[in-house]
Amino acid sequence: MTRRRLAWLKGGVVLAGLTPLALLVTRAAGIGSLGANPVQEVQQTLGITALNLLLITLTITPLRRLSGFSWLIGLRRALGLLAFAYALLHALSYIVLDRRLDWPSLIVDVIERPWITVGFLALVLLVPLAVTSTNAMQRRLGKRWRSLHRSIYLIGVLGVLHFFLQVKLDTSEPLLYALILAALLGFRVVDWLRRRTRRRPLNKS
């Protein structure tokens, strides 16, 4: 994998990642339709895309380990930032399109509705990750960068919980996301345990 090829691949990932947004915009403009409840359609599409991208971001490390393609790490930042962008747009569609900047009712929602509290928390925790995503920031923070960015695990849990608590009755989709997230986090737990046992070599006599 050359640097040029990776750059092209990154570009492709960004284009693919922006496609759901582009489709929403074209549907809003009249090519196709957003259906009977367009505000909900926009909100839900942006939210599920944010979750999808977050989960895809979490597959990079397992894929790297299993395939040996260490260049995959070069795609992770683009995916993570895309996930953040969609999460932000999802929140904005709620604040602007649904609640129409009615700040009192928004504050009540964040305080009184647990599923909104959880979603709000997930978004807030994403901000420092987005801000420190640059190479310069990575160099500046050194070892602390890794610890900070491990908060993506908590954010993933909060995101899936937000989805779960919001669903009216049919929990099959949030449960599927929870299973995938559990597998992606589980991989890291297993990997960490293996590394720990490797550090103590067996006594060979």
């Binding site: 809003a28 957003l34 259906g35 009977a36 409840n37 367009p38 505000v39 909900q40 926009v42 399109l97 649904d98 129409r100 009712s105 929602d109 509705r113 599923w115 608590l165 919001q166 009216k168 009755l169 049919d170 099959s172």
Partner: protein
């Protein structure tokens, strides 16, 4: 081993499914056109008395219809909650074509003098159909305005002569796993069941509904027979009714069984009683567009003048 005495059927000879489903209407139309003597084209007596072409030609005008703009019919028939056909809003319009609405009968049971099984024709024949434009409010905080075709449920129930022990009326939706794929999933307690107090069932606003926008109900909207109880959240307006039971005690309802804290027996529209997870103070009208505001929700969905009397003295927060 193929039976060689009869020639194999050519694909061109196979009746198309749409013709097959409309066979009774086609026969009736042929009889009406004088192409077949009526004695020869025997349509079963359980044939639905609904218009063959699907359009109601002489609905009585109802003077108290809302003056709000009706929701575009495409949205009314494509944004549905009918979990027997899937839990996405677009599922019922995609999958409800498998519902068989003819023949249809309703079993009347319980505390009444004239219980028994009634065909759709028995149910509808003596009544005059009206067009009523009602507001409809879903518990999910969206709403629509629909011209329904039907007649007051009370007029039907009186024919069954409920006794003094009938304090409630219980309703059941069709529960046919062969034609309703969503029944495979126990999201709700099947069959779908709902209930009203006898006073609510007899109220002049409670509409036994057979059509919308001047046409026979599409499958996804609860064909061939459903309730519309406009002052309650939409899930109380049960679809595709096959059983009516007069009971002495309050019946269990599917949504209450699924989540008692969120879905009460009364489920009257009330901006001051929030759903545990979201406010009911406002609603989003379907078809209003991406940049439209939410609209304030009205107590009893704007039918307070007509129905508040039913709940005089009742704590509406406790009895949600």
């Amino acid at each position: 081993m193929r039976n060689l005495r009869q020639p194999p059927i050519k694909p061109s000879e196979i009746t198309s499914e749409s013709h097959f489903r409309r066979r009774r209407e086609i026969l009736k139309a042929a009889v009406a056109a004088g192409l077949i003597p009526s004695g020869l084209a025997s349509t079963p007596t359980t044939a639905a008395p609904l218009p063959g072409d699907g359009r109601f030609s002489d609905l009585t005008h109802w003077p108290d219809s809302t003056t709000a703009t009706p929701t575009p019919v495409d949205f009314v028939t494509s944004y549905n909650n009918y979990y027997e056909f899937g839990t996405d809003k677009s599922d019922p319009s995609k999958y409800a074509h498998t519902l068989v609405t003819d023949p249809w009968s309703v079993s009347v049971e319980g505390e009444a003098d004239h219980t028994g099984t009634y065909t759709l024709e028995d149910i509808l024949e003596p009544h005059t159909l009206e067009e009523r434009i009602y507001r409809f409010r879903c518990v999910e905080a969206w709403s629509m305005v629909v011209p329904w075709a039907g007649f007051p449920l009370g007029d039907l129930l009186k024919r069954f002569a409920p006794t003094s022990r009938a304090k409630y009326v219980e309703f059941f939706t069709l529960n046919d796993p062969d034609t309703m794929p969503g029944l495979r999933y126990p999201v709700l307690r099947w069959p779908y069941r709902e209930g009203l107090t006898i006073a609510e069932a007899m109220h002049p606003l409670t509409l036994l509904t057979v059509g919308l926008y001047g046409r026979v109900l599409p499958n996804q909207n609860g064909a061939p027979l459903r309730l519309i109880v406009p002052w309650k959240y939409g899930f109380k307006s049960i679809k595709s009714i096959v059983r009516i039971r007069f009971t002495e005690s309050q019946p269990a309802t599917s949504w209450n069984m699924a989540n008692a804290r969120e879905y009460g027996f009364y489920s009257n529209v009330n901006p001051d009683v929030p759903h545990p997870r979201w406010s009911q103070a406002s609603e989003r009208p379907l078809g209003a567009g991406l940049f439209a505001s939410r609209v304030p929700t009205l107590l009893f969905n704007g039918y307070a003048e007509d129905v508040a009397g039913l709940y005089a003295g009742l704590d509406l927060v406790r009895h949600y």
